[in-house]
């Protein structure tokens, strides 16, 4: 940047001179367009972009795009939105400039009508267009911006093509009623029960502690320097413990309709607790991540939004495909093998049971503990005979009835790890009726469902369905 009479005039790499105020106005306007399309953009990024524009060739579309991408995009899923907004932004520039020249050619009054206000002025014309229209490239963009749109962008990337299962899928939107006061109270009570007692995991971090089992040489040297290396005081350390992460995968298909609401409430209560990190997903025919939606402080609004975002609400069920999607795209990002996975489903599945078995086995390998809540399991005489349930059963650590508050309290106990010595691994109780039929099931032995039915659970006595280890 050479010294010019006007400090706002900067030299571009091509040698031409550009008004820095114009660049800033351009950058701020573009930033706003991006923000209204749902990216989280702060002013600092816009300022960076303005600086970046002084460093690159302004006439080269791909370079300018790449520069903006480096500054504004913060996650992979943002790229698509960014590209769309950029295309529109660039085209508008081109329309005003028949010769497609560099930015220098833009008339100041056209670029930034309120240029007179100086730096930091309002966005230029195109900024308003993008905002006012509420459309980017024919794609409706939320006007409010902020969290809502980020969530949508988030979900956008992971929904299968809408027409993927068109005919078979009973796509049905469901109005979400407000929770009854009683349900709310139940859910709230659960948080109180859960929060203080979640199973802890040893982290790799260490803390000094009087009753630690490991010597802490660093601290010991330090404390004994005064004695010149005579160890008069011994110092100990132990691993720091932290609550395990929880991932909830909730079935909201037609057969689960009656139960889903209370269970979502429960998930919401879990997510609201700050003590533990929770990720939540819902599935019917496809998997949708709802973690951010459920974080809304207004709990009823959050549930309504989940209902909106999930368009296969109360449709069919594809457990295998949904688990596969989770294993492929989310397991590594959300689990890191030390988390607890809670699946809420009745196990009624329209897909291939073999796939359910393979994918449940894989899910089990990726987590610390796999808990399955089944609303039907509280019914006297219940046996996991439904296709999906039967396939998944051998890989489940804890199989619990769900649907009553009492049974969710039981879940609280499991999550706190208090009863882990009583709890039994699903597969170990199981012997094998159809093991030969399933290649993926070799890790654990399978049980004939009859053996499970023998250990019955009534709604009043909600115990895990397992025989002793």
């Amino acid at each position: 940047m050479t010294a010019s009479p006007d400090p706002a005039i900067v030299r571009s790499p091509s040698g031409g001179e550009v008004d820095g105020r114009l660049l800033l106005a351009e950058a701020v306007g573009f930033g706003r367009a991006l923000r209204s399309a749902g990216l989280s953009i702060d002013l600092a990024a816009a300022v960076d972009y303005a600086r970046a524009l002084t460093l690159v060739e302004l006439g080269e579309r791909d370079t300018v795009r790449a520069a903006g991408s480096a500054v504004f995009v913060r996650r992979r899923d943002d790229r698509e939105v960014y590209d769309r907004v950029f295309e529109r932004w660039w085209r508008q520039r081109g329309r005003r400039l028949p010769n497609d020249g560099p930015l220098t050619a833009i008339q100041p009054d056209e670029m930034a009508p309120d240029d007179g206000d100086g730096i930091g002025a309002e966005e230029g014309e195109e900024g308003r267009e993008a905002v006012d229209g509420g459309m980017v490239d024919g794609i409706p963009m939320p006007l409010s911006g902020g969290d809502e749109s980020i969530d949508e962008a988030d979900i956008d990337g992971h929904i299968a093509a809408p027409d993927a299962y068109s005919a078979a899928e009973a796509l049905r939107r469901r109005e979400f009623d407000r929770m009854t006061a009683a349900e709310l109270r139940d859910a709230e009570r659960l948080v109180d029960l859960l929060e203080p007692r979640l199973e802890l995991r040893r982290t790799r971090r260490q803390e000094l502690h009087r009753h630690g089992r490991l010597l802490a040489p660093r601290a010991m040297f330090r404390r004994n320097i005064a004695t010149g290396g005579q160890f008069t005081e011994w110092v100990w350390r132990r691993p720091v413990k932290a609550p395990r992460k929880i991932v909830v995968i909730c079935d909201i298909s037609g057969s689960m309709e009656r139960h889903a609401r209370l269970l979502l409430r429960f998930i919401q209560a879990l997510s609201a607790s700050s003590a533990v990190k929770t990720e939540s997903f819902v599935f019917g025919t496809r998997l949708t991540r709802v973690t951010r939606l459920l974080r809304d402080r207004d709990r009823d609004r959050a549930l309504a939004r989940v209902a909106e975002s999930v368009n296969d609400w109360a449709g069919g069920t594809r457990i295998g495909e949904s688990f596969r999607d989770f294993n492929l795209h989310w397991a590594r990002r959300t689990l890191r093998s030390s988390g607890v996975v809670i699946v809420v489903s009745d196990g009624w599945d329209r897909g291939d049971p073999a796939l359910v078995a393979t994918e449940t086995a894989r899910l089990r390998r990726n987590c610390h503990r796999l808990v399955w809540l089944n609303p039907l399991a509280g019914t006297p005489g219940y046996e996991p005979l439904a296709g999906g349930m039967r396939a998944a059963f051998p890989y489940i650590d804890d199989f619990l009835p769900a649907g009553t508050v009492a049974s969710l309290e039981r879940l609280g106990e499991i999550l706190s790890g208090v009863r882990s010595s009583d709890l039994r691994r699903g597969g170990e109780a199981a012997a094998s009726a159809d093991a030969g039929a399933r290649a993926g099931a070799t890790i654990r032995e399978l049980a004939p469902p009859a053996a499970i039915g023998a250990d019955r659970v009534s709604p009043t006595d909600a115990r895990p369905l397992r025989t002793p280890r």
Binding site: P13, R51, L55, V56, T63, A70, R205, R218, I225
Partner: protein, 310 residues
């Protein structure tokens, strides 16, 4: 990976355009597309850390190495892991040496007159990567700091990193604040096993590295495994691209392509054959179920399609 070629490092200010970065990287056998070069260029010019994300094996770590070689400076690497703390990442006192020093002072009868400065001086400080990164080399060049796999570190460390990356200074209570004369060039990489915190992202420029196009990957293979016959290289790249389209647990990265090309070469292969593919599939695919899926039928079909198509 072959050794870096003995290409002469260019002066820091010679990497002053997007093209010169591309050229300089290319000389060191690193093929990078224009958007990545632009992000790197801006990171250098704006003095910002560059956060690189992408699937495993797309060359995130390699970029830092090539950048250091291009600039002719040191590469300082900090590998992140859960539980990484200040003592392992920034500095640590050399306690045994301090002990010895005290004994020595005692033996000379100077122990009483010595002050804390004598045993808490810079010579007793063990410099860990982040502190090393604040020091320029003899030529006055700041190093390239690679903070690898930041997603593996825990959030406590990430918070600490925020401070260092914004001010490029470290405070050691016994000595004072150590500040970089010239801030290091920082590259962070993440495999996205978890989302990096927004506050950290805000301080960085960001680039997602995609898998390269077939043509670009062929260029990479011929740069990195120059001994591979052209036909073999083309067939390997083509096969790997078909694998990336397939529904696999873990699709192969560029690193796997290169490994595979090198492996086939060492077996004396001139072209891909069905048996050869099945025997060496373990170099490219790292999950048993993926290998089972591709071996036999599928791999033969890929080869046939490749032969017919291109």
């Amino acid at each position: 990976m072959p050794d870096p070629t003995p290409a002469q490092p260019v002066a820091a200010d010679a990497l002053d355009s997007i093209e010169s970065i591309q050229t300089s990287f290319r000389e060191r056998d690193y093929v990078c597309d224009r958007s990545l070069a632009t992000a790197t260029f801006l990171a250098l010019q704006l003095g910002r850390p560059l956060l690189l994300e992408g699937e495993a094996g797309v060359g995130k770590t390699e970029l830092a190495k090539v950048l250091a070689a291009s600039l002719g400076t040191r590469l300082i690497r900090l590998q992140c892991y859960e539980g990484l703390d200040v003592n392992a990442a920034v500095y640590e006192w050399n306690y045994p040496r301090q002990m010895l020093e005290i004994r020595l002072l005692e033996a000379r009868g100077e122990a009483t007159s010595a002050n804390a400065h004598d045993i808490f001086g810079p010579e007793f400080l063990i410099r860990r990567p982040l502190l090393q990164a604040l020091e320029s080399d003899e030529a006055g060049q700041p190093p390239v700091l690679l903070i690898d796999e930041i997603d593996r570190a825990d959030e406590e460390f990430e918070a600490y990193l925020l401070e260092i990356l914004s001010d490029f200074q470290v405070t050691v209570p016994e000595i004072g604040t150590i500040k970089a004369d010239r801030p290091p060039r920082v590259i962070l990489t993440s495999n996205r096993t978890r989302e990096v915190h927004d506050a950290l992202k805000r301080r960085c420029l960001y680039h997602w590295i995609d898998y390269p196009s077939a043509q670009k990957e062929l260029e990479i293979v011929s740069a990195r495994v120059p001994e591979a016959p052209e036909r073999l290289a083309r067939e390997v790249v083509d096969f790997v691209h078909r694998l990336r389209e397939a529904d696999l647990t873990k699709v192969p990265g560029i690193a796997e392509t290169l490994d595979w090309a090198a492996a086939l070469l060492s077996l004396g292969a001139r072209e891909l054959a069905p048996e050869l593919v099945d025997e060496t599939l373990g170099v490219v695919l790292k999950y048993e179920e993926d290998i089972r899926r591709v071996r036999g039928e599928t791999s033969r079909r890929y080869l046939a399609e490749a032969a017919a198509g291109s």
